[in-house]
């Protein structure tokens, strides 16, 4: 693959991961269990949408088809999205949302740290900016895993169920072909430390679901896109 193509793939994946999770988190706006959590989830979603804008603008620039971040977000269909399956999973209850954020943000922080040190200046500039924000997301999610896992019987049951639901989408992040296998040991260590603090056992190994990076998505992504893209589909080119 030519260097430009590799860069385009990276920018699309990073942008789509952030865009889809940002959209998912925005579904919580006005529905979170308490005001502070509502603000937190909206803030995290906003950070992710900001990162997505930068990565997708870069992808559009490399692609050279006169598409900016908005065009890539609103005018592509489900098969063209390159996000991992984890970020498109439904919010479920609050514990399931926290499980997804915990697994993702801890991975994204390690990944973005590497990208910040990458030789490509446009990519590394976004990475260096994003890594500072993601550190907050990882800490927020990890604290809630401990609070719920080591909380009441009800919160613990839900936290275990949430992690169990999300666990099968972890392997895709570290897939030898499309993922970041070198980050696995450090990620495993982080996850294990928080799980021990939360008095939780690691979820049982599951056969990993993969395919998001090749455009093979779960049914959930199509539903998410119908909502996210509705306005541009109904009124193409509409502007504020």
């Amino acid at each position: 693959m030519a260097e430009e193509n590799i860069l385009l793939h990276h920018a699309l994946r990073l942008g789509d991961d952030a865009l889809i999770l940002g959209q998912r988190l925005s579904e919580w706006c006005g529905h979170a269990p308490m005001l502070e959590v509502d603000l937190a989830l909206a803030n995290i979603g906003l950070d992710l949408l900001g990162q997505a804008t930068h990565f997708l603008n870069l992808a559009g620039e490399i692609d050279g088809k006169d598409r900016n971040a908005d065009a890539l977000a609103f005018h592509r269909d489900v098969l063209d999205f390159r996000n991992c399956l984890l970020v498109e999973q439904p919010n479920g209850d609050f514990a399931q949302t926290i499980a997804r954020q915990f697994l993702f943000s801890n991975w994204q922080e390690l990944l973005m740290r590497e990208i910040a040190a990458a030789p490509e200046p446009r990519l590394s500039a976004i990475g260096a900016k994003a890594v500072k924000e993601i550190a907050y997301h990882a800490k927020f999610a990890s604290e809630w895993v401990v609070r719920l896992g080591d909380g009441t019987e009800e919160s613990r049951t839900r936290m275990i169920a949430g992690l169990d639901w999300m666990w099968r989408f972890v392997d895709e992040l570290f897939d030898p072909k499309d993922g970041t296998p070198s980050l696995r040991p450090e990620w495993d260590g982080r996850i294990a430390r928080t799980m021990a603090e939360a008095n939780l056992e690691m979820p049982k190994p599951r056969r990993g679901a993969v395919g998001g990076r090749a455009g093979h998505h779960s049914e959930h992504l199509g539903h998410l896109l119908t909502e996210m893209q509705f306005l541009q589909r109904a009124y193409p080119g509409a502007k504020w």
Binding site: L39, D47, L48, G50, Q51, I126, K129, K132
Partner: protein, 160 residues
């Protein structure tokens, strides 16, 4: 263009922009906040605070309007991400203005340890006997705190 002429253009632009308030925290100017980075030739370089901060677009709009009013509509505005914005770039004057406005300013030089909890001083009574209510507040750059002595809730500008 001579070095002296360039220097004076930069000074002039910084002077103009020191009158442009941040749209979310109007007590402080975009220069105090460290968003205005440099003037290179006829190009003004600015940087966003947080990648998703909705104020970024409003700020660029306000800067453009201020330049136009000053007869500098030919100046280009360029947004750069690198090096990433840090709260260490907030001026001492900016920190004082934030405190007067009721927002606990970030400690200078603390950005490297942004996740380490350090006692935050209540902007109202000066007590260090305070606690965090939520790490995420009304804007991406602020956290919610409360003073355990004077009992007032307050915003803290996050070290970043």
């Amino acid at each position: 263009m001579s070095a002296i002429a360039e220097l004076s253009l930069k000074d002039r632009i910084f002077e103009i922009l020191s009158q442009v308030p941040d749209p979310e925290i109007p007590c402080i100017s975009v220069v105090d906040l460290g968003i205005v980075r440099d003037v290179r030739g006829q190009t003004l370089v600015i940087t966003p605070t947080y990648t998703g901060c909705p104020a970024t677009i409003a700020i660029e709009h306000d800067i453009r309007a201020a330049l136009t009013r000053a007869g500098l509509s030919h100046i280009k505005i360029e947004t750069t991400l690198s090096p990433p914005w840090t709260t260490d770039w907030i001026s001492d004057e900016g920190r004082a203005k934030l405190r007067d406005y009721g927002i606990a300013p970030p400690k200078k030089g603390a950005a490297k340890h942004s996740l380490r909890e350090t006692p935050t001083e209540c902007p109202r009574c000066g007590s260090l006997h305070t606690e965090e209510i939520s790490r995420f507040g009304s804007t991406p750059c602020k956290a919610l705190h409360r003073c355990l002595d004077c009992r007032e809730p307050f915003d803290r500008f996050k070290c970043h």
